[in-house]
């Protein structure tokens, strides 16, 4: 069953069509990769899904509910959360606080509760902190909760960003280049981690990724964009064989190289 459905979405920026009539069906509990060369419109698509942009045409459905014109905070409340290509943590807040902000939509305490600290608020806060600690542990940042997030290492920042996204209990998690700037061993860890997310938390993951070996090894489904147009969709095997993809994405004559990459990535996975 498709948990996230994108239907004919078109997004224009002063005449330029960044996305034209994109259809996307993300199946529940799948890992769905969106690939494409630079400027293909991948991040724009994410921005449309999360409500940061409103598409000119088309619609986006989450669990059958139309979320097309909703504001980002509403979309998050309904169950989509994301990370960013260039890590965007709240730098001057601690790790725990970052996660607590992620929980914002699920917490209820308001102005009065915050001031008088009634038992309900206190309980809620205590629970939230405990859950934040659990999440920290889950992403492997135990003991780093009181560190200012800007002082975390690069890999830890990526993990914290994911933890923050998870804190809003999403149905669909959008990861924008989760392995960007990582060395091979860190990348491998991240791949395991993303699988673990899907398997243990039973959430659906859509990710933008540039590293082919990552894409090919973890994706259940791959969508290829080029200049705002969907040019192919299928499993990794289908995508690898698709001549359109090879031409648009990798250039002529790169087909053999692609094949090698995949076979290498398949071994450790």
């Amino acid at each position: 069953m498709a948990v996230l459905l994108v239907k004919g979405v078109t997004k224009r920026f002063s005449g330029l069509e960044a996305l034209s009539k994109i259809d996307l069906e993300v199946q529940e509990k799948s890992i769905h990769s969106i690939i494409g060369p630079n400027g293909a419109g991948k991040t724009t698509l994410f921005n449309c899904i999360t409500g940061f942009y409103t598409p000119e045409e088309g619609g986006i459905l989450l669990d059958g509910k139309n979320i097309t014109a909703l504001s980002p905070d509403r979309v998050t409340k309904l169950g989509i959360s994301r990370t960013y290509q260039n890590i965007r943590l709240f730098k001057n807040m601690t790790s725990v606080e970052n996660i607590l902000v992620g929980m914002h939509p699920h917490l209820k305490s308001g102005l009065i509760g915050g001031i008088v600290h009634d038992p309900a608020t206190r309980r809620e806060e205590q629970k939230a902190v405990e859950e934040a600690k659990r999440l920290l542990q889950f992403v492997g940042l135990r003991g780093k909760g009181d560190m200012m997030s800007k002082n975390l290492s690069y890999g830890d920042q990526r993990r914290l960003e994911i933890a923050r996204a998870l804190a809003s209990r999403p149905k669909v998690l959008l990861l924008d280049e989760p392995t960007a700037g990582m060395n091979p061993s860190e990348t491998q860890e991240m791949v395991h981690f993303i699988r673990q997310l899907r398997d243990e938390l039973k959430i659906t993951i859509a990710l933008i990724e540039h590293q082919m070996r990552v894409v090919m090894s973890i994706s259940d489904m791959i969508t290829v964009l080029d200049f705002g147009v969907k040019i192919a969709e299928g499993t990794s095997l289908q995508i690898q064989k698709n001549p359109k993809v090879i031409e648009a994405y990798l250039g002529r004559g790169a087909a053999s190289g692609l094949g090698e990459n995949t076979s290498q990535a398949a071994v450790p996975a």
Binding site: F90, E97, V101, L107, S109, G114
Partner: protein
């Protein structure tokens, strides 16, 4: 060998020249002559002399620190040369002042100034004294630097304390006047202006000795940062008692200063929410203060004759008016950030002031005449009317407001504010409704400022448009920056430093904004996080029950005790 390394002439001389430049600047703006009458040590030296000699000392010290690992004679030589260079710059000023009439350009280069620079001596002899003094003081700086750190610290601290005590002589004597037997002792230390020589010696020995003794046992004092509940209760009770007793002990004049500081603390706590927590740069913050004060005026003044409410009846309306106007300001600026927001809010502040000033609204707001005969708060049979009585209004107001700010800071709302401050797009993507959250920040800030406005109106029993100056907004913003953005104790420290300290020294008033500017520049260069930066709450590894206390180090706890409960 180290000794063979060449002497850093250039570094030393240039630092000295900069020090001299600073001294010349201070002389020409007139701050040196303004402080000429204020002795630090009676008959020995005045604050004015400190002002033109201190830059030489400070810059000599900073060069010495930079070239630090050097043999002793070199250090002393470096200090002396740096001091001499500074003195040379001052000497040039003196010579220039004698040759040509500088007063055409620099009004403050008066004969009095040159008399000071030559120490009241004849021209040539005076310049020689000046140069010699520069050399000597620079050398002494070097000598002090060479002392073992424990003694050095004691000496420096004693010097700073003597300076402070000498400066605040008037306050101490006036206040101690009521203390009976203690007054006699204190009188012995102080002359007509500044400290007596004996007093200076005794006090320096006492203070230096205390610091020396304390530095010897810093280590065992660390665990005491985690106080027992009883100890905490006692400290708290002590602080409360001090705060409650301040007005009768200090008298009218100082109560007035305290009221002023209290008013700015109230506003600072409010603006701290808007700027410090939520990161919304509001330059028109005085508008809410004005709205609070004017609403109080309109509702209570029999002169205007609309309503004749009492203070307490009018208060809720005034506060509601502030909250509403906070939200009204918030709505159009929701999408603005940074500089744009600053300009729009600045405009808003001016609009409110001009409306109050306008003839158009004169029948309602009194125009330039303002509003008189505003009601003062009455509690039972007591009318709070004097500075000393209204102090308690500020005290209670600050208590409530500080508590609210402190609680909100660590609440879900506070986190949402901080997330908006850090990265608005992401905060919204995390499910924070930026409309509601921002408006809440504006409204809360407006509420606190409005409260300050109502007490202000009651204190003067009148309001005028010209008290709703743009400078008020700037003062409040400066005190937040100096105290530390987003830090609640920082607001108290900032208000005491910026609002309180200039009031204690009459001579200072003229140069207040010069000092603000200098202070802000120095702060941004050396301590951009503020005097008392925000502490992050520990959530993961410590107990949630008492996180703030465990985090505060002992030294900070000491500065805190007189102010935090304020």
């Amino acid at each position: 060998m180290q000794t063979q390394s060449p002497f850093p002439w250039k570094q030393v001389v240039s630092a000295g020249l900069i020090g001299g430049g600073v001294a010349v600047l201070l002389s020409l703006v007139g701050i040196v002559t303004a402080f000429n009458e204020r002795y630090i040590v009676s008959g020995l030296f005045t604050m004015g002399q400190v002002l033109f000699l201190a830059p030489a000392l400070l810059f000599a010290n900073s060069t010495i620190r930079r070239i630090a690992p050097q043999p002793a004679p070199k250090i002393i030589l470096a200090g002396a040369i740096s001091g001499l260079s500074s003195a040379v710059v001052l000497a040039i000023l003196t010579i220039l002042g004698n040759l040509i009439n500088l007063r055409i350009m620099f009004v403050n280069s008066s004969p009095e100034l040159f008399e000071m620079l030559t120490f009241g001596q004849e021209y040539t002899a005076g310049i020689l004294i000046l140069l010699g003094l520069g050399l000597l003081l620079g050398g002494i700086t070097g000598g002090v630097f060479l002392l073992p750190s424990k003694i050095r610290n004691a000496v420096v601290q004693a010097a700073i304390w003597i300076l402070m005590i000498g400066l605040l002589r008037d306050m101490i004597v006036t206040v101690s006047y009521r203390w009976g037997p203690l007054a006699a002792v204190i009188k012995y230390f102080f002359a007509v202006s500044g400290l007596t020589l004996t007093g200076t010696i005794i006090l320096s020995l006492l203070i230096g000795g205390l610091y020396y003794w304390r530095s010897g046992k810093t280590k065992p004092s660390v665990p005491s940062a985690q106080q027992t509940p009883l100890k905490r209760l006692l400290t708290l009770a002590g602080a409360a008692a001090v705060l409650l007793l301040l007005p009768p002990v200090l008298g009218t004049y100082f109560s007035e200063i305290l009221d002023n500081v209290g008013m700015y603390i109230l506003m600072g706590l409010g603006l701290n929410i808007v700027v410090g927590f939520a990161g919304l740069l509001d330059l028109g913050y005085v508008a809410f203060f004005a709205i609070g004060a004017y609403t109080m005026g309109v509702l209570t003044s029999p002169e205007l004759g609309f309503y004749n409410m009492t203070y307490w009846e009018a208060l809720p309306f005034a506060l509601i008016a502030c909250v509403v106007s906070g939200a009204i300001l918030g709505l159009p600026v929701l999408k603005m950030r940074g500089d744009y927001l600053a300009i729009v809010t600045l405009g808003f502040g001016e609009i409110v002031r001009l409306l109050a000033l306008s003839d158009w609204l004169r029948p309602w707001l009194g125009g330039t005449q303002g509003i008189q005969r505003i009601a003062q708060p009455r509690i039972g049979p007591y009318l709070l009317e004097s500075q000393q009585e209204l102090y308690y209004m500020f005290l209670v107001g600050i208590g409530i407001v500080a508590f609210i700010a402190w609680r909100l800071k660590d609440s879900r709302i506070g986190r949402a504010w901080m997330a908006l401050r850090e990265d608005e797009d992401v905060a919204v993507a995390m499910g924070i409704n930026h409309v509601g959250t921002k408006l809440l920040a504006f409204a809360t800030g407006a509420l606190f400022s409005g409260l300050a406005g109502t007490i202000f109106a009651a204190k003067l029993t009148s309001v005028y448009p010209h008290s709703m100056n743009f400078l008020v907004s700037i003062n409040v913003l400066s005190l937040i920056i100096i105290g530390g953005m987003g830090s609640i104790p920082g607001v108290f420290v900032g208000a005491l430093v910026l609002i309180g300290s200039p009031e204690l020294l009459r001579e200072f008033a003229e140069f207040r904004y010069l000092a603000y500017g200098a202070l802000l520049v120095v702060m941004m260069l050396t301590r951009p996080e503020g005097l008392w930066p925000e502490e992050r709450r520990r959530l993961e590894l410590h107990e949630v029950t008492d996180p703030a206390l465990a985090a505060i180090s002992k030294s900070k706890a000491e500065i805190e005790s007189p102010q935090k409960a304020g």
